[in-house]
């Protein structure tokens, strides 16, 4: 197995859904040993999520589960009962990190109160990723991605002005919470070097989105210029024209030219049409805020006569930062990503060989890799419970019959 930069870190992951899975995956693909603990019955809810090959559901063939659980070992365990809880504590004994994403208080209700765990396992880092965090008036409120998107301010800025606000696609708030959780866990491990102790890492997805994704650029204009934070459809009128998505022959282009030279190069590249000389179309702020439809209409004939890739190639030649709105098949077959080796093939005992998105970054030494496919439900029960914890096969069968594992 390829060595990894985090190969000395041992993580226990217990959770449901994207945020705990992605946090654990970030560690696992970097070489940490991540043991994913799933309930004995249906397992992680993502096993039922899909997508499925041929749209035929199967708990070992869910695309999102397969992707988010690469490189992990998998065991089943019911930690809500006394026996399971005892086994869980044995697992904690040799863990550096516990990653969990249950509603605050849930672990305590299972007899796994976090402050008590930190006392019993002084070097343990417990990382909790939740929608709103472990504190504050919203601590006990429920939340899914749409709610976090609403509360954090991101939805207020996406969508058509005359229709409902939109969240980012594919539950992005869960991923951002997961990454922040992974980062904060590493900070906690550095702190442990100094203090000898672990601690509780408390990450709220709403905090991450509200601050790093929205406030950092949207709050200052509100505070200083009295700007309205609002949704503006397919364009952003705060930027000089263009900052907009427009149709072309075979799809859509994202047009943006933050610097005036970029816009000048574009108008040159399209042959300096007459309208470019009109003073009305040289005032980029007015174009963006007062008559963008007009300018969109002027660009339309040129755009509609050309494909995304033709326009993109021309723009690259002229150093104009327009980009095609790529569809998933185009991303999957992008020659650039192919040359970068971004997509990675891996075989899975139930799902077969598949292509997965790969590394979020490239390391020169001891790098990222899919070290094993996503675990089958309980695949490593024998290895972990028998070989490591010393349970006999008899024990394992008894635990199974009792639905502890």
């Amino acid at each position: 197995m390829t060595p990894g930069v985090l190969e000395d870190v041992r993580v226990l992951e217990i959770g449901q859904g994207i945020s705990s899975c992605f946090c654990g995956k970030l560690f696992a693909d970097m070489g940490a040993e991540v043991i994913k603990v799933e309930p004995p019955d249906a397992g992680d809810e993502l096993r039922a999520h899909g997508p499925f090959p041929g749209d035929v559901p199967h708990p070992e063939r869910s695309g999102l589960f397969l992707y988010l659980n690469t490189s992990k070992l998998g065991v089943t365990l019911d930690v809500t009962g006394p026996t399971g809880r005892g086994i869980f504590r044995k697992l904690l004994d040799s863990a550096d990190v516990l990653v969990e994403n249950h509603a605050p208080g849930t672990l305590a209700s299972w007899g796994l109160d976090i402050p008590a765990l930190l006392d019993a396992f002084p070097r343990l880092v417990v990382t909790s990723v939740t929608p709103y965090g472990q504190s504050g008036p919203w601590r006990d409120y429920r939340g899914y991605d749409i709610n976090v998107s609403a509360l954090s301010g991101v939805a207020a800025g996406i969508g058509s002005p005359d229709r409902e606000p939109l969240a980012l696609p594919l539950a992005q708030t869960e991923y951002q919470g997961a990454i922040a959780g992974a980062v904060a866990t590493l900070f906690a491990l550095f702190a442990r070097d100094m203090t000898g102790r672990g601690q509780h890492v408390d990450v709220s997805s709403a905090d991450v989105i509200a601050t790093m994704h929205v406030a950092h650029s949207k709050l200052p204009p509100v505070l200083y210029r009295g700007a309205r934070h609002a949704r503006t459809g397919h364009r952003d009128p705060e930027m000089p024209y263009p900052q907009t998505t427009l149709p072309c022959k075979d799809g859509y282009m994202c047009l943006g030219a933050p610097q005036i030279q970029q816009w000048a190069r574009f108008t040159e590249a399209i042959g300096n049409p007459d309208w470019v000389q009109n003073p009305r179309y040289r005032k980029r702020r007015a174009m963006a805020q007062e008559y963008p439809d007009e300018v969109d209409a002027l660009l339309a004939p040129w755009l509609m006569a050309r494909t995304k890739e033709e326009i993109f190639a021309l723009c690259r030649e002229h150093h104009v930062p327009f980009a095609p709105i790529r569809t998933m098949d185009e991303v999957a077959s992008d020659p650039h990503l192919a040359e970068r080796g971004f997509f990675v093939a891996a075989d899975h005992p139930a799902a077969g060989p598949l292509t997965y998105p790969g590394a979020p970054f490239r390391l020169s030494a001891a790098g990222w890799a899919i070290r094993r496919p996503a675990p089958l439900h309980g695949e490593h029960n024998e290895e972990v419970y028998c070989k490591r914890l010393g349970y006999s096969r008899d024990d394992l069968c008894a635990l199974r019959r009792a639905e502890v594992v």
Binding site: P51, L223, M328
Partner: protein, 424 residues
């Protein structure tokens, strides 16, 4: 603050990265966000700037002009008045070096010997060409950790493409999923790719530092913002890999959940988000809205039927939400155990009791524009919370410290380097 902060062992003075030093060449948002997180948690981060090539965030008329205590600021003062620059560069020290001058290159090499981490997001090849690429810096410090963040990576046909955050989101499929079933919008709010790359970059740097602790090995990290964003598209990419399906915008819909979305409320452009997954949550919602007849129809009896009839369900639910403000609807639903939250704009987020309780925002005094709001540490560590809330540096503010004290250059050398525009 969480109760955990009162436990024995909470030590605000222990900064997890104290003793580490970072050379931060990043400009704009994505790369400087990496340096920011490291600085917040105690690293000494030297933000490298150059008078001849100022960060775009320092340029132009400041939006904070009217908050300024300086009337009619000179350009030198105005460049210090930009909130966006202050946010991503707080807690850092500021130095100026002109890497177009050979003497500037020498200075950076000397500085690199004293630094654990170097962060940059120049166009691929720029630092190599002036002799400050990884190979060069590794000669100075064999175990250096260098993060090169770029739009699409240090290699490949799109290596040199000009981009900024929206371009990246378009190229890797994120923008193509934003819109309604009948209308693609392709426009996200703010620079999503920037903050994402920032967080991923910190993870890569911290992991590399731990690896170096164990093995003595350095690291070169080639980070493509495009790839860091593409890994978030896994759900749709797997659908394409398995089924050749090309996912399109679906509004707010998510598989397996109904009701799930944003519903209109009383008042102008007021909305509440509501999400129901389990049968228990559905029954709670029925109670919360007063158990009207329609909730007992077979059409909505179980999760499968609710999803199949989600349009009709949304219409019914909207009839209820329209009678309430987002806050009323939220309170009623949450008190019954249903996930609901108002759609807030960023001004409302800033004033909201939850974000205030979480200390999501802090205020840092700036000599020219007074108290500035910016985000605090995004994570809450119960034992060593971190958080170095010192203002962003003035241009070259810490040159004497960096070149005089750290490098030990005598005063006359500093003056000569300044006159020769190497320190500039």
């Amino acid at each position: 603050m969480s109760d955990d902060t009162t436990r024995p062992g909470n030590d605000a003075s222990v900064l997890p990265l104290r003793g580490y030093r970072v050379l931060d060449f990043g400009w704009a948002v994505a790369a400087p966000t990496v340096g920011l997180a490291l600085a917040d948690m105690g690293a000494e981060v030297l933000r490298v700037e150059s008078r001849g090539r100022l960060d775009g965030l320092r340029l132009g008329e400041s939006m904070a002009r009217q908050a300024s205590i300086v009337n009619d600021p000179s350009p030198d003062i105005e460049m210090e008045m930009h909130p966006l620059f202050h946010i991503v560069n707080r807690a850092k020290l500021g130095i100026t070096v002109n890497i177009r001058k050979p003497e500037g290159v020498v200075l950076v090499r000397q500085m690199a010997r004293l630094c654990d981490v170097v962060i940059e997001n120049f166009s691929p090849g720029v630092l190599d060409r002036v002799g400050l690429g990884y190979r060069d810096l590794r000669r100075e410090r064999p175990d250096v950790i260098m993060l090169s963040m770029s739009s699409m990576g240090q290699s490949g046909p799109l290596r040199d493409v000009t981009t900024y955050a929206p371009t990246i989101a378009s190229l890797v499929g994120l923008h193509g999923l934003i819109g309604y079933p009948d209308r693609l919008l392709g426009m996200a709010a703010g620079g999503f790719a920037d903050a994402n790359a920032g967080l991923m970059g910190v993870f890569a740097v911290l992991a590399s530092l731990r690896h170096r602790q164990r093995t003595g090995q350095g690291q070169y990290i080639d980070m493509s913002q495009g790839e860091a964003t593409a890994v978030l598209m896994g759900e749709a990419l797997m659908d394409n890999a398995m089924n050749k399906r090309v996912q399109r915008p679906v509004g707010n819909a998510r598989p397996g959940m109904a009701p799930y979305g944003v519903y209109p409320c009383k008042g102008d452009d007021q909305w509440v988000s509501i999400a129901v997954k389990t049968q228990a949550e559905w029954e709670a919602l029925c109670r919360a809205v007063g158990n009207p007849e329609w909730t007992r129809e077979d059409t909505f009896a179980d999760a499968y039927s609710r999803k199949r009839n989600s349009d009709a369900l949304d219409k019914r639910l909207a009839e209820w939400t329209r009678q309430h403000t987002p806050e009323e609807a939220t309170e009623r639903l949450q008190s019954h155990g249903v996930a609901a939250a108002p759609v807030l704009d960023i001004g409302q987020v800033y004033r909201h009791p939850q974000f205030q309780a979480r200390q999501a925002f802090v205020h840092i005094e700036h000599p020219y524009i007074g108290k500035e709001a910016m985000y605090g540490t995004v994570w809450r560590l119960s034992g060593t919370p971190g958080g170095v809330f010192r203002r962003a540096p003035f241009l070259g503010e810490h040159n004497s410290y960096a070149f005089g004290e750290l490098l030990g250059l005598p005063q006359d050398s500093l003056e000569r380097l300044q006159a020769d525009q190497a320190i500039s």
